[in-house]
Amino acid sequence: MGVNPLGAAPQEVHQFSEEVGASDPVTVVGGKTQWNVGGAPDHSAREVTAPTGIWSHEPEEMTVRCGAGTTLLELSEQLARHSQMVPFDMAPNATVGGVLSVGRSGIRRLRYGHIRDLVLQIRHIDCNGKIVTSGGPTVKNVSGYDLCRLMVGSLGKLGCLAEVTLRCLPMPETTRWLTGNDDPFEIYARLYRPSSVLWNGEQVWVCLEGVSSDVEAEAALLDLTETEGPPQLPGDGRSSVQPKELRSLSADDTNWIAEIGVGIIHSDKPSKPQQVSKTNESLMRELERRLDPNGRLNPGRQVVPL
């Protein structure tokens, strides 16, 4: 018997659970901004869309609860009214649920961490069309298994995200982007927690955030010039290495930009699928088999490379 089991799920979530249903193959459509990650869903799958809307934003708690179909634009506009943000740094028409299902962080991960660490609670619709709640609405919580982290990056194959509660951060007083040709690794070592250091083999871009005096003092340590913002990222190609392995990159005929200190390389070449070990693959298949025995959730997409 529950006294207040995480608050009742709103009507919209119940409607979405009916829409997802319990039998035929479904695929969840968000903003289609990262639609090709994990491969296209089967044509047979019926398209469903997650509910939209910001259902509660409590500025003093620094938490926001919204439908998974809410766009980043709507979310950031609401939060900006209270000088808050959720640093997803993805296309404004991407949806919260889509960004989390894909599980890729934005270019300020260096400072703000992986996007999965911003998730407090998730309600998803499982393969039986039932609502499952995991995590909790408070900013800190270790009650039960951490299904929220598992759902991030699961491409909707373990459940369709319906409602998400996120931790918000205060918007920095100042944000400055600088650029130049210095060594990106030296720059990273010299700064205290920069928000982003990007490098294409020749040119470096640095994002500094905080109160103005700190941003100025940090900028003064570098021989860089002010620029509008980050560079355009080349194409959809994305690969991941250990941060120190970025040193072996060099300017060549491909177009790439690397996230120093993180280990992401954006490029115009399609990314090669990475392998998982046999043991991990079998754990991952077990999860899929248990949570969606008939493979009806987002069929065709692959989280575990074949």
Binding site: P5, T138, L147
Partner: protein, 478 residues
């Protein structure tokens, strides 16, 4: 009541570990307890020195149909390391090497038995630290931190353990060894690492951990604010966060806590105050000074008494000493204590604190509050004397009432100590039967037969495979 371990199990384990298998009465008793008030009894205790030995122990356990239980320092407060179902204990105390500090990747590879503070001490000269800092950091292990997804005062700004673990080598319940997560930025597949962190030893044994290193802040300021009324202290907490400031730490102590701590450490805590806030700001100097001003002006709007700013590192350490020794200091009023760990929305702190005092009164117990106020993480301590007849029933009943009050206020069961044995039967207060069954499906993907730390986290009714008994054994509630 104790089933003596069958001879073959002992022989088989000895053939791998020699005298690092313990079956003496004294040691079995010692490993029957952790930092909670619960107690059980293991069948045997093993002290492996490397991953391969852990793997062999798990294999032998399986051959003998015996569950196993990983144990770090035994400081857990939810009974996670208390043996039920006659398990073999795999204690990580002898796996305590820092294997590699990789500054270029800002990663350290450590064995699970490395103590939290030992790692930070090793890193300090190089300008880094391991951010999770449970108040038990002098004695708790990194393996335990990973298993419990532990927090600590500075997790307000830096996040809990999960955000600071890149990869974990694990001996799975079937005896295979694997690496969950990776040093590369985006490991392929589902986030098994994230799932393992916080799984309280029920998904296997962590044998190596790659933790992330955090650079030490260039500037730090520590403030002690006192309030004539605890309500103003709590309102200040909400108002600081609402002003857009996330301090590195924001801790609160109530009147009774101040009195006992001051008598214990003489840190100059104001004993006439109703509550104090210990606030730490860190980062670049401009942001820190700005933070100090925000805290000052918010506190002044909330009837603050004095604001003491630590003048130097020595004073800062003294102020923290008071906070970090609070639990030990409770022994000055009563020999035993029972500590709860719920989280409530910050805006409900006052309301729930008042309920905690009422509940303690109703059950004739003493409540002391020292807690991570910045994230609404309450730690009500119920002090008692176990020699008093029937006192434990009162302690448990009061504990349940506190958990209920927290959940009614929109909170959760545990902020950082975990569910373990102590709170597993409360899980139904927060989650539906279907939520818990789903969690169990996930656990089962790692351990279908329930060999790893059986009977923890999920109440027995929600599990599909409780092969080692149904209930907390009678003797467990000591």
């Amino acid at each position: 009541m104790q089933i003596s371990p069958d001879g073959n199990l002992l022989d088989d384990l000895r053939s791998v570990l020699g005298d690092r298998v313990r079956d003496g009465d004294f040691e079995l008793g010692l490993y029957g307890k952790d930092g909670s008030v619960l107690e059980g009894r293991p069948s045997l205790v093993c002290l492996p020195v490397n991953t391969d030995e852990v793997r062999q122990i798990v294999k032998i356990c399986r051959e003998h149909d015996r569950p196993f239980l990983a144990r770090g320092s035994g400081t857990g407060l939810a009974g996670g390391a208390v043996p039920v179902g006659d398990p073999v204990i795999i204690a990580t105390a002898k796996m305590n090497q820092i294997l590699e500090v990789d500054l270029e990747n800002r990663i350290a590879w450590v064995e699970p038995g490395v103590l939290n503070l030992d790692l930070t001490k090793e890193l300090t000269p190089q300008g880094f630290h391991f951010a999770p800092d449970p108040s038990s950091q002098q004695v708790c292990s990194i393996g335990g931190n990973v298993a419990n997804n532990s927090g600590g005062p500075h997790c307000l700004a830096y996040g809990v353990t999960s955000a600071h673990v890149a990869a974990i080598e694990v001996v799975l319940p079937d005896g295979s060894v694997t690496l969950l997560g990776d040093l590369a930025a985006e490991p392929p597949g589902y986030d098994l690492r994230g799932l393992f962190v916080g799984s309280e030893g029920t998904m296997g044994v962590a044998t190596k951990v790659a933790v992330r290193l955090t650079p030490n802040p260039p500037a730090v300021r520590t403030l002690l604010l006192d309030f004539p009324d605890v309500r103003d202290g709590a309102a200040t907490v909400s108002a600081i966060i609402a002003a857009g400031l996330i301090p590195a730490a924001l801790e609160m102590m109530d009147k009774r806590a101040i009195e006992i701590v001051e008598a214990f450490v003489n840190a100059g805590y104001p004993t006439e105050a109703d509550a104090v806030l210990l606030v730490e700001l860190d980062g670049l100097p401009g942001g820190v000074e700005h933070g100090v001003e925000v805290v000052r002006s918010v506190a002044e709007r909330h009837q603050v008494g004095n604001i003491r700013v630590a003048a130097d590192n020595e004073e800062r350490e003294l102020l923290w000493k008071g906070r970090k020794n609070a639990f030990g200091a409770v022994a000055r009023i009563k020999p035993d204590y029972y500590l709860h760990d719920t989280v409530v929305p910050r805006g409900k702190l006052v309301e729930v604190l008042e309920k905690v005092y009422k509940i303690a009164d109703a059950y004739d117990l003493i409540a002391v509050n020292v807690f991570h106020a910045g994230d609404g993480n309450l730690h009500p301590i119920l002090a008692y004397d176990s020699d008093e007849k029937g006192v434990l029933e009162r302690v448990h009943a009061a504990g349940r009432a506190i958990v209920t009050a927290s959940i009614e206020a929109g909170g959760v069961l545990s902020g950082e100590h975990g569910i373990g044995l102590e709170k597993r039967d409360y899980m139904g207060m927060l989650f539906s039967a279907h939520d818990m069954a789903t969690q169990d499906l996930v656990r089962e993907a790692f351990d279908p037969e329930g060999f790893a730390n059986p009977l923890k986290v999920l109440p027995s009714g929600s599990r599909c495979s409780d092969s080692f008994g149904q209930h907390v054994p009678d003797g467990a509630w000591v």
